[in-house]
Symmetry: C2
Subunit: 337 residues, 2 copies
DNA sequence: ATGAAAGCGCTAACAT
DNA sequence: ATGTTAGCGCTTTCAT
């Protein structure tokens, strides 16, 4: 196995000192143009790559961000991750990925595991378990230790850190207006994420708007488990005279649509369905689901850029910010024209 | 910002040398039981975590694996990643994730970027671009430099490295038998991955079996782009008298199903559909798709365990192995009982 | 059973 | 413009 080139090796070959070579590679003004050129050439020729562990140790920065996701087999988080990854690789950052699997313990373990020098900061969406339990010391520990933290989508209100979210409540409210304009009066909320902040916000937005307007009715079908959800949904179809369904998450949306098929209810003629999250599941359903697009990839990019700024201005005191992205409605086959 | 505890700090507090503390934490036989206990207690109390960069530099191992995936918004790769991640975190390994986005260049960039000390090895599925181009020097470079490489699913036949795959060709063959046993004679292959090794293997398996048996007919509909695929599919529905469709990937499967709906073809009565990959899209379609389950999470776990073994026996000469997992058919709503 | 010292590869303050 | 040196935090060999 051949020896990987190091600064020392380059220096020997060029009859220079390591510090000169180091500076040359950094395009330092101290070094002559000629030397820089010679160094660059040999480095390229030998395929020199700086040893990241050594640089991290010395510079006290790893150029690595831990991304903690509640799940990964989920188009929304997948798209966010793509956005993060894209931006990260553009800025020559690495990301390590952790999957909390909605568990408080795993989330905490990961944060502890990376809390000493392994990463410069964390990007994360809170696990369902964490939001249910309401225990947030592990976030505080991270912040206290000087590591950067940016949360997205599933954020903790009471926590003083940067957050990138979408206009969940406002979008819910807009959906009510949209459905009302189509003549619907009896709206049903379907959700498998009612324990999670964004689910609650969306529901609140819808609820508030329904109360503001006259002559609207609201039902709620909510359960995390597929079979219970479907039983509830079927009950609601049979006893309530539902005009439309707002599904707060992709799974609820697709399950509601399938239940409607099963019961012979015509979509969108007899029932309109709108679903949160522009997922493949929604894009490839029949008919294609009308969705609230959260611009998830953009969200990922914004999140990374935020933490990058925090890192660049490391020692300045910074005002934490909540950045809200506006969602948009993509009208497809489950709503009427 | 408080100072993170280091070995030196622990040593000072305990009036010991750093080497003693280091050994104690490693439960070395050289150190007295009593000292070990004192060290362990203080370490716990102060929340000591070894600095990974320093350990990497010293030990010449990072306990980090790069995972290069063609895409991430894809349930198959998502599930594999879950399996890898699960196993990695269990063995106290980190994974950094790279998304090649099916591009040869990105794949190569990533491999170069991590080829000097940043990771101990690579787990990857080849990008479509790489398989099309047929350029594999970047893989050879990795292997030559002593880094470990394990490929899964989309592997390079000619490359001498460890591979974890599923029985693509054999499973294709079994599907033909299955459909024939249901009385189908005219089978159609639908694919959006015909440029990729696994797509070709599946097709080959099907094709061979069709030729072996008597009285079967085979059509092929293949295109990566949705709209061209759908046009072809519609044409095939209208002119060929198809009895069943074998979709080589999830997207092809769901698009074929939707097209059947659109044309008023009854599934599974008039047309059976079987689809590769047990994705959420297939699970939540209407009716639910019958699928070939690749046990993707298991595949991820096996892949990680393989690279771990390679790493543990670093310097032994190892025979590269191809490990083949057996797929299984999950019969659901798009095939007849 | 414990400690001193060297060194992994890199950077930067401080010579020259 | 180039070089010397110290040190980031850890492990390990070789004393003691």
């Amino acid at each position: 196995m051949y020896q990987k080139p190091t600064l020392k090796l380059l220096a020997e070959k060029l009859q220079l000192s390591t510090s000169t070579v180091s500076k040359a590679l950094k395009d330092s003004a101290e070094i002559s143009v000629d030397t820089k050129k010679r160094v660059a050439e040999l480095a390229k020729l030998m395929g020199y790559r700086p040893n990241t562990a050594a640089a991290s140790l010395r510079n006290r920065e790893t150029r690595t961000i831990a991304v903690i996701l509640p799940e990964i087999v989920n188009d929304f988080f997948g798209q966010v991750l793509m956005g993060i990854e894209e931006e990260a690789s553009q800025h020559n950052y690495k990301i390590v990925i952790c999957i909390s699997n909605e568990s408080y313990e795993k989330e905490m373990d990961y944060m502890e595991m990376f809390s000493n020098g392994a990463v410069d900061g964390f990007i994360m969406a809170a696990a369902m378990g964490t939001q249910e339990l309401g225990k947030f010391e592990h976030y505080h520990n991270i912040l206290n230790s000087g590591l950067k933290l940016v949360m997205f989508d599933r954020v903790i209100d009471s926590l003083d850190c940067d957050k990138i979210i979408v206009d969940d409540a406002a979008s819910g409210s807009r959906l009510v207006d949209f459905l009302k304009s189509k003549g619907d009066r009896n709206i049903c909320i379907a959700s498998t994420i009612s324990k999670v902040s964004v689910g609650q916000l969306r529901e609140q937005g819808i609820r508030n708007r329904v109360e503001e307007l006259d002559g609207l009715q609201l039902n709620v079908v909510a359960h995390e488990e597929d079979s219970s959800f479907l039983t509830q949904m079927e009950g609601s179809f049979k006893k309530d005279n539902i005009h439309s369904i707002i599904a707060l998450d992709q799974r609820a949306g697709i399950m509601a649509l399938n239940k409607a098929h099963e019961l012979g209810i015509k979509v969108p003629q007899e029932l309109q369905i709108i679903c949160y999250s522009n997922s493949n599941m929604a894009k490839y359903s029949y008919p294609q689901l009308t969705v609230v697009d959260q611009h998830s990839r953009e969200l990922g990019k914004k999140t990374f850029i935020r933490i990058l700024n925090l890192l660049k201005n490391k020692d300045e005191v910074q005002v934490t910010k909540v950045h809200t992205l506006k969602t948009s409605l993509i009208e497809r086959g489950t709503t009427r024209k």
